[in-house]
């Protein structure tokens, strides 16, 4: 019989939860200054200005972080939700590439912010992939 350990994946989710809650709260709290620093000219997406978009995004990321914490705290790690978080992280990285390709007047600080966040999320996605693979291999 095989008994696998989910400690690696569980720790990754705790890390993702902490990063998401802190960065999401920061983004929501300082949405205006971040929006001004990220672009040279006012940007609007689907009729929403960038500051409001950052605020909504920040709240969403905090909720995402809370979901990660909930998953990490379950006695038995829910595999389906774990895969969903992994897919969401991949989507964030892909979305970041698309955003950078948009014809918007991003400042250097804006580009750096998007790239750094995408790299951190990509690292988390890699750790989640390794954790999921470790659990699958042991079963």
């Amino acid at each position: 019989m095989t008994v696998s350990s989910d400690r690696f994946l569980r720790r990754t989710f705790w890390g993702n939860a902490a990063f998401s809650v802190i960065s999401g709260a920061g983004l929501a709290a300082f949405a205006g200054p971040f929006a001004r620093a990220a672009t040279d000219a006012p940007v609007s997406v689907l009729g929403l200005d960038l500051a409001l978009l950052f605020e909504l995004l920040g709240v969403g990321v905090v909720a995402f972080g809370a979901l990660c914490a909930w998953i990490a705290s379950r006695p038995e790690l829910p595999r389906g939700l774990a895969r969903l978080i992994f897919a969401a992280d991949l989507a964030w990285v892909a979305g970041s590439v698309l955003v950078l390709a948009l014809p918007a007047a991003w400042t250097t600080a804006g580009i750096a912010g998007i790239v750094v966040l995408a790299l951190i999320v990509a690292d988390l996605a890699i750790l989640e992939y390794l954790g999921l693979r470790k659990m699958s291999a042991a079963n």
Partner: protein, 131 residues
């Protein structure tokens, strides 16, 4: 949490199919029992050899789990069974697992399976790898 409670609370789907229930648990001794149901039997109505091995395998793995360092897993890499006597349908078999070797990389366990009356059914020796 108490070790016996820990083993009985861990969800092991195949152990549930077998109807295995842990009755004693420590780092050096794990015991469990299982009723020989008709669906676990061969012809004639005695416990199927595969069910005997699965019963013992679960005990050996559970005993390993009680000895694992934090964050480690385990898998069976070798198992050998001596079938000694039959366990008729309707009886209860009792398994007792004790260690032969408890190392950092592998653990070797032997499981004696008897009927409730003490008649020997099988002896299983298995090796668990620490993951």
């Amino acid at each position: 949490m108490d070790k016996l409670q820990l083993l009985n609370n861990v969800k092991l789907p195949f152990a549930e199919v077998l109807g295995l229930k842990f009755t004693a648990a420590s780092e050096t001794r794990v015991m469990a029992e299982m009723v020989v149901r008709p669906e676990l039997c061969t012809r004639p109505d005695i416990l199927h050899g595969g069910a005997v091995m699965a019963f013992a395998d679960t005990l050996g793995a559970a005993a390993t789990v009680l000895n694992l360092p934090e964050g480690k897993g385990t898998t069976t890499i070798e198992s050998k069974t001596n079938f000694v006597g039959p366990a008729p349908v309707g009886t209860t078999v009792i398994g007792e697992t004790t260690p032969i070797h408890r190392g950092r990389r592998t653990m070797v366990w032997t499981t004696r399976i008897t009927t409730a009356e003490g008649k020997l059914v099988a002896v299983v020796t298995q090796t668990q790898m620490v993951l």
